[in-house]
Assembly symmetry: C2
């Protein structure tokens, strides 16, 4: 139905062979101006569009890039996919998009699907970039891929990321500088994100560098189980002697944690400071604005696609590449409640107070 006009139709109309039509279309060889004009006319009249399928079958290569991300609902990935799309389009390629919904078990099948489509390469963010049979398989089959946000230990694994541990180290340091001594690290399930794990290392390092006692990470299933999430937060921040700062593995989690803290009657940042990671727009729009690590989300996607083409062209060997990040200050990060007033406690008061935080603020 949709594909009634083929290269053969055009050849008949132009009164030449299909090879010549192909040559004109692809400019793969010289043709006489006369024939070329006839062919172009025929193409125009018939509205002919060469089938990528036929072309691919011959070439065994498509103009398609496979993309695997945890979820489009997370603005981090939406932005990086937007970058990929723009860069791919610039190179006359299209994206085949799939999501795993943060389920590592789904990685093999989506990659299978993509590979079955003969994608030219893959761009993916996986749960674990080191222990990953799916990537092993891609390596074995020589299918080029670039990871995004993952930081594989193996140097031969191409990746575009940020210094996850380093950035978190810096962020934790900033919190400590504000007088916080009991910082907790909150994350989604480690099994679904090696970034969360790597960032925890940054937290550990900062705590140790400051001579503070690090605490085990709190893994929250905030996506699948919002209720249990609130309960877990209550368990940590409810009791006296609670932490004064929450370092979250990503912005979405941080926002969710802020909500849970408010439900507990705790004020941010007066009672508890909060910080995130990623630098999504949502973080800046929140009130108070979320302190976070600003990562070049869109650029990451662009760069990943550039890199895939470098691999395809054999122009470069796969490497781990870290893009620059920046600490983004925000109202959610303030001096610790028990910090001495001499400390650089600063909080802009230009914004009006949100209705009423619970009157009885347990300040201890």
């Amino acid at each position: 139905m949709s594909r009634v006009v083929t290269i053969r139709t055009v050849a008949e109309r132009a009164g030449c062979s299909i090879a010549t039509v192909s040559r004109v279309i692809n400019g793969s060889a010289r043709t006489s101006a006369e024939v070329e004009a006839r062919v172009r006319a025929a193409v125009e009249e018939l509205g002919f569009r060469p089938s990528e399928i036929g072309r691919s079958l011959k070439t065994l290569r498509t103009r398609t890039l496979g993309v695997v991300i945890p979820s489009l609902t997370n603005p981090v990935f939406a932005a990086s996919v937007a970058g990929m799309e723009a860069e791919a389009r610039r190179r006359h390629h299209t994206l085949l998009l799939t999501a795993t919904d943060y389920d590592a078990a789904r990685e093999p099948e989506v990659v299978e699907t993509l590979v079955a489509q003969s994608v030219a390469g893959l761009v993916l963010t996986v749960a674990d970039a080191d222990d990953n049979p799916t990537l092993d398989r891609l390596d074995a089959e020589g299918i080029p891929y670039v990871l995004v946000y993952n930081e594989p230990r193996r140097a031969e694994r191409a990746a575009v990321s940020v210094d996850n541990a380093g950035a978190t180290f810096t962020l934790a340091q900033a919190m400590i500088a504000q007088g916080h001594r009991r910082l907790v690290y909150l994350a989604g399930r480690f099994a679904t994100s090696d970034r969360a794990r790597t960032r925890y290392l940054g937290y550990l390092a900062a705590m140790e560098a400051a001579g503070l006692a690090p605490e085990p990470p709190l893994e929250l299933d905030y996506l699948a189980d919002p209720a249990g999430h609130g309960a877990a937060i209550a368990g940590v921040f409810g009791p006296p002697g609670r932490p004064t700062a929450a370092l979250c593995s990503n912005d979405l989690l941080a926002l969710s944690v802020m909500g849970a803290l408010r439900v507990l009657g705790l004020r941010v940042p007066e009672d508890v400071s909060v910080a995130g990671f990623d630098g999504i727009a949502l973080a800046g729009a929140a009130f108070p604005a979320l302190a976070t690590v600003d990562t070049p989300t869109r650029r990451m996607g662009e760069r990943a696609v550039e890199k895939i083409f470098e691999l395809l062209d054999g122009a470069a060997a796969p490497t781990l590449e870290r893009l620059p990040f920046e600490l983004r200050p925000g109202g959610t990060l303030a001096a610790a409640p028990d910090a001495s007033p001499g400390a650089p406690a600063r909080r802009q008061d230009d914004a009006r107070p949100s209705q009423s935080a619970s009157p009885e603020t347990p300040s201890e």
Copy 2:
């Protein structure tokens, strides 16, 4: 390189013909248990995965859906694409994703690209669903498609949308009920969004129903020209007798307008009330929370993909389908500054139209 093992390899390993392998894989015909076992073993050992390309060339149909959206950076579309992806995956299909960056001129080429890939169908949000040569071409070629958020006048054009005009009418009514009499409608460029145009009709209707004088829409190029955007806002809200309410064609614009108003020293909602459209998370996170129309963004995408399959199966004729929306109250919508604290001003006694703006000028 990547495609070393074909159906032929499997056939040799299993000691049978490629036809038999095909039969086993697709269950298209009965085979003896013995041969089937051998084939499955060979498939397993070789890690064989049938090439979608080969299959498609034969079938002339792929398991791929083409998607065209203005931009992934707008959370509305990110969410709806997330819905499409989930629904497509459920049906063993993949998405070929493209974006136009709000440039209608790019629609023909991206659709061409998608069609050249022999997608099974298309899901798209276009600039103008009525006057659109690209859609005409799809109609002519009988390629099935479903529009999202567009509301084509032609009933034969399949679409999943909301009642854009109706929702805006309701929202404008809510503003009027708060005592606002000078409402302006702000939009991105109409040329890039028929939704913005349709929503304006809702504004018009509400103004007329209330006996108020509607104003011409203010088209802002807030994406391409943030600076000019601020200046335009200043032009409208700077002078005395300024409007007390801004009805924006979408949430992203509304957020941007809020920022521009603050730069002018105007408070939201004390000086100016603001409302948006879409119901993105960003709107709820903003402070004050943005009053808006909550639309089922993700569900729209899911439903669109369901609908594409209904069309493909011939199970249904293309229709325009409107999903329910909901008014989402927010702190940005409050009583008009000059409204009497008593009852919502309905002004049916006052015959004089636009004369009366707020005589009390700003109090910065």
